[in-house]
Amino acid sequence: MRLVRVWFSKQGRIKYVSHLDIMRCMTRAVRRADIPLWYTEGFNPHPYLNFLQPMPLGVEGLNEPLDIRIEGEISDKEIMDKLNAVLPVGIEITKVTEPFMKSNDLAFAEYEIYFEKEENLTDKLVRAMDSGVLTCEKMGKVNGRKRVKEVNVSENIRKYSIYENDDAVIMNVVLPGGNTKNVNPMNLLDALNRFLESDIVPLNIIRLGLLDDKLIPFE
C-alpha cells in the first residue's frame, strides 16, 4: 500500500459541484481509471480518498491536493494519464507527487476574487478591507447547538492586495484554511457587502492554492 498525492484543478461550470459530490465523482473516476486501489476492509469495501481541504461551492481551484491509497505497481505518470482519460470536463490532474507535508500543516488558502469593473470599486474595497470591522454571519455551534454566529472577518485576513487589469478588479487574499480554522471567501464577500451596503456578485473566485502557517505553498 502506497499513499500518493494527486493534484487537480477544477475550473468552469464544475465549480458548482459541491465537495461531497466531487468526492463521489472522484471515487468513480478512480474506479473507471482501472488504477490498482487499496480498499478498506469493512463490510462495505470502498477505496481510500482523502481530500485535504474541501472546496467551497462556486469556487474554482488550481492546485487542489487529493491523497489516494494505491495497492500494487503503477507509476505516478500512469496514474495521472489514466485519471485524466476518465475525468469529466473541468477537472484535470496536473501532477502526482509524494505527500511531503501533512494535512495538519495546512493553515491558509490563497484566493483571487474577480469583480466586474465599476467606478471607485478598488477604493471602496480597500476602505472596507482596511476598516478592521468586517463581520459576517456564519452557522456555528454555540454550547453544542447550531446557531448563527457573528464572526469578525477583518482579524482573519492574513494579507491581501488589489489590482486591476483590462477586464476586472482583482483581489488576492489569504484567508485561514486549515483543519482548525477556516474562513470561506463567501464569508468575506458577505462581510464586504454588509460593510459597503452593496450587493456585489463577483465574476469568479479562484483558489490558487493552499499554504502552511509560514505561508509556504503546501506540498
Binding site: V30, P88, E110, M129
Partner: protein, 648 residues
Amino acid sequence: MRKSQISDLSYDKCGPMWASVPTFFFGSDYMKREVEKILGLVQKPARYTGGELNEVIKNKDDVDLRFAFCFPDTYEIGMSNLGMKILYSLINARDDAWCERVFAPDVDMEDIMRERNIPLFALESGDYIRDFDAIGFSLGYELCYTNVLNMLDLAGLPVLSKDRTSLTPIVMAGGACACNPEPIADFVDLFQLGDGEEMMNDVLDLLRECKKNGESKEEFLKKASQIQGIYVPSLYDVEYNDDGTVKCVTPKENAPAKVTKRIVSDMDNIFYPDKFVVPFIDIVHDRVVTEIFRGCTRGCRFCQACFLNRPIREKSVDVINEDCKKLCASSGYDEISLCSLSSSDYSELPELLSELLSWATKDKINVALPSLRVDNFPEELVKKLNEVRRSGLTFAPEAGTQRLRDVINKNVTEAEVLETSKKAFAGGWCAVKLYFMIGLPTETMEDVEGIAQLAQKVVNAFYYNPDKPKGKGVNVSVSASSFVPKPFTPFQWEAQDTPEMLEAKQNHLRESVTTKKVTLKFHKIPISFLEGVLARGDRRLGEVILRAWQKGCKFDSWDDHYKFDVWMETFEECGLDPRFYASRKREFTEVLPWDHLDYGIRREFLENECKKAYEAVTTPQCRENCAACGANKLNGGKCDAFGKSMVQ
C-alpha cells in the same frame, strides 16, 4: 499594473504565493453570464449546470434537429429515469440530431429565473429551449401535468398547443400517462404510445423532412398521425353525453379511428445505451440499470404497468451481461440494478446472476434485484447477491387478507409471506418492508385489519426464529398507499374510495397496530384523490389544469407544494365535479375517454377479469396458462411468457 498594495497586517511580502492565472472565466466551459450570476444564489446549483461525465456535446451547426428532452420534475428524480437515459442516447446516436436534458427547476431557481427573465435552458448547451425543434416530455405519472405547463411557460412558449402555430418547437410526450392523455390533450401536439425506441426515430425523420420542406405544423401532424403509435389529439373531436360521459370520439383528416401502441418486438436487438450520464449530485437511483424484460406475467388486477407493457419480451442473458459490463466500465458505478416489473420471474435468473457475479464480485460491484415476489423468493441467489454489500428487503403482499389478495389476483399466500420473512430473518436481516394498498375494490374494515395482523405475524416470525440475529430487534415497516384505479386495468371501471373512506381506513389501520415493531407509512389522501381524477379524466380537465397552474399549482406530488384547496376551487369554477372522475363507478357500456387508444389488451379480457375479481376468483399467471389478454397480436403472436420466441 498593481494599483494598490495595502498590507495593514504588518506583512511585508505581497503578491501571490501561488502562480496566478493570466486568463480566467468566459472560457468555453462556462455558463451564460446571466445564469452564472444566479447560480450562487440557489440550492444545489449543480442541477442546472450540466457538464457531467458522458453528457453528449455536439456542434449545433452540424445537426438538423435540436431536441429538448424535458422531465417534468427535479433533476434528482428525472436523472433516475431509465426511459430518459434510453431516449437520450438513442436520439444522440443520430448524426442529424442533438438531444439535451431539461428538468423542472426547483422553486427557488424558478423564482429567480422569472424575476430576471431567464428562459428555461438545456443543460448541455445552455441554450434556450424555445429555439429548439422538438420538446419531449416524459410523463411518469399524472401529478406532473402542471409542471409540463410550467416548463413550457418558463421556456417562453404558449402552453396551449393551438397557440403554438409554427412547426417548431413541436411538443410531444410519452410514458405511462400517454395511455390516457386526454386531460393534457390541449397542451401537447402529439403523444407516443408504447415503446419509444423505433417510434421516436420515425417521428424525428418526419420532422426533419417537414422542416426541410418548409411544411406547416398541421401538415406535419397529419403525417405523424399515420405513424403507428402516434396520437395527435387535435385530430380527434370528442362529444359528450348530457350526464358528462363521453359520447363519441371522431377522427378527422384521415387519422386512425383507433391508435395502437407501438412495441419493439425483439429485446435483444433493441437500442440500449452503453453510457449513462453520471450525475455529480446524489439522485434517487444512482447506479447502472439494465432492463431484463418488458411486461409482466402475473396479471395483478390493479397494476397498470403490467397491462401497458405486454406482451412479455425477455432480453437474453448474454445481452444483459454485456450491457452491464459496458455500463459499469463507462460510468464507474459500483451497483447494478436489474430492472423489470418482477425480477424473480425472469426465466433464466440463476444463469444471469452467475454470469454477472462472475465479474461483479471481483470488481466490488453490488448486484441489486428489486421487485422480488414473495412466492418465488430466490433465497440462495439473494445470499450470493449480498456478498458485496447488503441491501434492504421489500415484499409486496398488497392486501391484508387472502380474500382480497384473490380479488386483486396477487396470488400470494400468507404462508408464503411468513416463510419468506423467516428465510430473510435466518439470513440475518432484521428489517423488512411490506407494501400494501388500501381502498381496493370490495375492501372491508376486516381487510384493513388484516394488514396489521399480517405485519404482527411477521414480527412474531422473527422472535420464533431460532437463527435470528443476536441482540437485535426487528422492524417491520408497512407502507400503505391509497389505491388509484387506472386505465387499461380490470379495475378501470371502479370507483376510487372517497377521501373520507380512505381516511377512515387509514385511521382504522393505525388503531389496529399494537406494536412498536411495526412502523406505518401512508400516502397523503388529497394527493391520491387528485391522481385518481387525472388518471381517468377526459379533455374537459384541460381547463382545470390550466387554471390551477395559473393559480400557482405545480409540483403537485410534493407534499409541501400541493395546493388541494386551490385545485378544488378550480374544479368548482370550471363546473366540474372531481368525484365524477375519481369516485364514480362506470358501467361496462360506457365509452371511456381512452377507448380510442389500443394497448393490445382486449376489452372483453379486462371485463372478464373485473367480474372474476368480484367473485374473488384468481387467474393463473401467464406461464401456467395463457389468459388470452390479446397483447401478443402486437408481436405477431409471440409472447415470451411461454419461453423465448415461442409462437403461441
